[in-house]
């Protein structure tokens, strides 16, 4: 009986201890909860995992127009990059997909077998068996819109197009332009991207379909020793970067770039240049808030439901946040030219977190200054022109969205662009390097469609919880 009583009293002692502990921990957790207002977090987008195991079909389309054969013939004093780059591309396309299908477009729109595809770096591949007039007629039409339609129908696949991109002006106007834009819309809407590689290679052939100044016909030119060719890759950002990596590792290309950096350009055009949300992978760290030292008084940094919360005591009236573009943007993409930053701000007269704080939501506007966007970083200045009152605890929730895509990487192609109006003049100068007709028309068309399909994307959400001192 005695032992039973002593056991009971011991039990009740333990229960008391448990009660005390529960009370203690609940006080701690409540004190933290009291330190921030009630707010709703935006829905974080799901980051693409970039699963390399999921391989799909790869379609390789070669421009079989006659002018392409100029890339296959050697040219004295110029380095031919067409052969080595196409070889690297073929290897990359084999590694990329489960199955690779080779096709031609331009003068002939057909599927070809491996044997025929292996001849793509030879003159034989581009021989036109029809009459010279019919060949010249077909050569004037690039026919890229047909390939884009194939890409539209095979959205899980990667489509690779090798072409000189010599588009006639009529192909970039009105209904013909719509034939290019329409499939692109669906491609971008499906979250796919378009990677454009430009490589300047030796050229020894005839370029036909050059509009004459009087508008009455077309001229041809065969004195060019150098000319750019293009590889357009339509697919996921990861796949485009995979091909980019393989091409850029090509030794001959690297040697050429060492002596002539403008011989190669790359641009990734996408409707969403945001590769991943920084919250999902918890990539925001103490270092992103520049002017508050983690060693300062009362500094805490923690994630709560993927939201990074900086808690500190400061007399600073404005804060600078900085993010590396490479942490969230698709590499090689056009980047972001403008951001939208939503800020919700609350204040509390109770600066300590011991009691239940009464939070009041501020109606202040213009809490964020102009963001500073460089090729490497995004800097945001918060509360620069806002005279926040000291003696209060402030809680700011910042949601950073993309507002407009940039155009930084596509602009580098301008050096190879040739307008129809300038074509005749260009011809009279007898250039060694021949530019690409309507190149920027096409690139801007792709970019415009990407911007049309642009949807604001949440890049990051951040909370600043600070006691503002005098």
């Amino acid at each position: 009986m005695l032992t039973l009583n002593s056991k009971n009293s011991r039990m009740s002692k333990y229960i008391k201890y448990i009660y005390v502990l529960i009370f203690f921990f609940s006080t701690i957790s409540n004190s933290y909860a009291a330190c921030q207002p009630k707010f709703t977090l935006p829905e974080f987008p799901i980051n693409n995992s970039g699963n390399q195991d999921l391989k799909n079909k790869v379609y390789v389309w070669y421009d079989a127009s006659l002018s392409m054969s100029g890339f296959t013939k050697s040219q004295t004093d110029e380095i031919n990059l067409y052969g080595p780059v196409i070889n690297s591309l073929q290897k990359a396309s084999q590694s990329l997909g489960t199955e690779t299908s080779y096709n031609t477009f331009g003068s002939r729109f057909q599927t070809i077998d491996e044997n025929r595809a292996s001849l793509v770096t030879t003159q034989e591949f581009y021989k036109c068996t029809q009459s010279a007039q019919a060949c010249a007629q077909k050569d004037r039409v690039n026919g890229i819109s047909k390939v884009l339609n194939v890409a539209k129908k095979n959205q899980d696949s990667t489509v690779i197009i090798v072409t000189d991109l010599f588009l006639s002006t009529s192909e970039t106007l009105a209904k013909n332009a719509e034939k290019i834009k329409s499939p692109l819309r669906e491609i971008f809407n499906n979250g796919q991207s378009v990677g454009v590689f430009g490589i300047s290679s030796s050229f020894n052939g005839k370029i036909s379909g050059i509009p004459t100044g009087d508008g009455l016909g077309y001229a041809s030119y065969s004195k060019a020793t150098k000319r750019p060719f293009y590889i357009i890759v339509i697919g996921s950002g990861e796949n485009i970067n995979f091909i980019r990596e393989k091409l850029e590792n090509n030794q001959k290309l690297q040697d050429k770039l060492a002596e002539e950096p403008d011989a190669y350009h790359f641009s990734m055009i996408t409707s969403n240049v945001i590769q991943k949300n920084l919250n999902v992978d918890k990539q925001i760290t103490e270092n992103n808030l520049l002017n508050i030292s983690p060693q300062s008084e009362g500094y805490k940094f923690k994630y709560e439901n993927n939201l990074p919360i900086y808690q500190f005591i400061t007399s600073e009236k404005n804060f600078e946040l900085e993010f590396n573009n490479s942490d969230f943007q698709v590499p090689g993409s056009n980047g972001v030219s403008d951001y939208k930053i939503d800020v919700d701000l609350w204040s509390s007269r109770e600066t300590s977190c011991k009691d239940k704080n009464k939070w009041a939501k501020s109606k202040r506007e213009n809490l964020v200054g102009d963001e500073n966007i460089t090729d490497e970083t995004l800097s945001i200045n918060v509360f620069e022109d806002t005279r926040l009152k000291w003696g209060y605890r402030w809680f700011a929730l910042l949601n950073i969205y993309t507002k407009k895509n940039g155009s930084s990487s596509q602009d580098q192609f301008k050096i190879w662009d040739l307008n129809e109006s300038d074509a005749a003049n260009h011809l009279t100068t007898e250039p060694k390097t021949f530019k690409t007709l309507n190149l920027m028309n096409l690139i801007e068309m792709i970019s415009d469609v990407a911007n049309e399909e642009f949807k604001p994307t949440l890049v990051a959400s951040i909370a600043l919880n600070f006691e503002l001192e005098k």
Binding site: S347, R349, K358, A360, K361, S362, K363, R364, R387, K389, W390, G391, Y392, K470
Partner: protein, 193 residues
């Protein structure tokens, strides 16, 4: 000398009380909680006129809490201004008896001292206003006042307490001294002295 001082002190007190008493009543009303209505003075008008209510509402803060803070700041401002005024006016009222001014031609020296002390008093009043009402003062309510309101408050406070100083000094100065009388005769309010 002491007799002369004691003779003028009641006059000084009368002069100081004209504006000092309402100031003391206002200070009392400002220190009182919001729900206590003063018999003599209401204090609500202070925040109504000078507090930046829009700024308070912009942050969705409780206007009543903000008013309490504002009244607290304004009360301490008045306490400080009152102390400054009393120190200078009483200092002059007593100190003027010790000036060697009872000789012909010394009136201008009397006026010279008077101007220095008065200038220091007005300067002190303005300085106190700035210290209390500035955005970075130790009163959080100093942030609830707009620039124009701050200027108005500084001007009005300086004029009010400057006037208190003036009246108390005019009545409490060394009235028996020849120079003081000559000086007083030149003042605009001489007919009432």
């Amino acid at each position: 000398m002491i007799v002369n001082i004691l003779k003028t002190l009641p006059w000084y007190l009368v002069g100081a009380a004209v504006l000092g008493l309402p100031a003391i009543l206002l200070i009392g009303a400002l220190f009182a909680p919001l729900d206590v209505e003063s018999i003599f003075f209401g204090s609500g008008w202070v925040a109504d006129i000078f507090m930046d209510l829009d700024g308070v509402l912009e942050d969705d803060q409780d206007p009543a809490m903000a008013t309490v803070s504002f009244n607290y700041m304004f009360a301490w401002l008045n306490v400080n201004l009152l102390i400054i005024t009393v120190i200078f006016s009483l200092g002059w009222s007593i100190g003027s008896h010790f000036l060697n001014i009872n000789e012909p031609g010394k009136a201008k020296f009397f006026g010279f001292y008077w101007l220095i002390v008065s200038g220091a008093c007005v300067g002190g009043l303005i300085l106190v206003c700035f210290i209390v009402l500035d955005f970075s003062s130790s009163f959080t309510a100093s942030q609830d006042i707009t620039g124009p309101s701050q200027t108005n408050l500084i001007i009005l406070s300086t004029v009010y307490y400057g006037l208190m100083y003036w009246i108390s000094v005019i009545l409490g100065t060394a009235r028996q001294a020849r120079s003081a009388v000559l000086f007083a005769n030149k003042l605009p309010a001489r007919n009432f002295l």
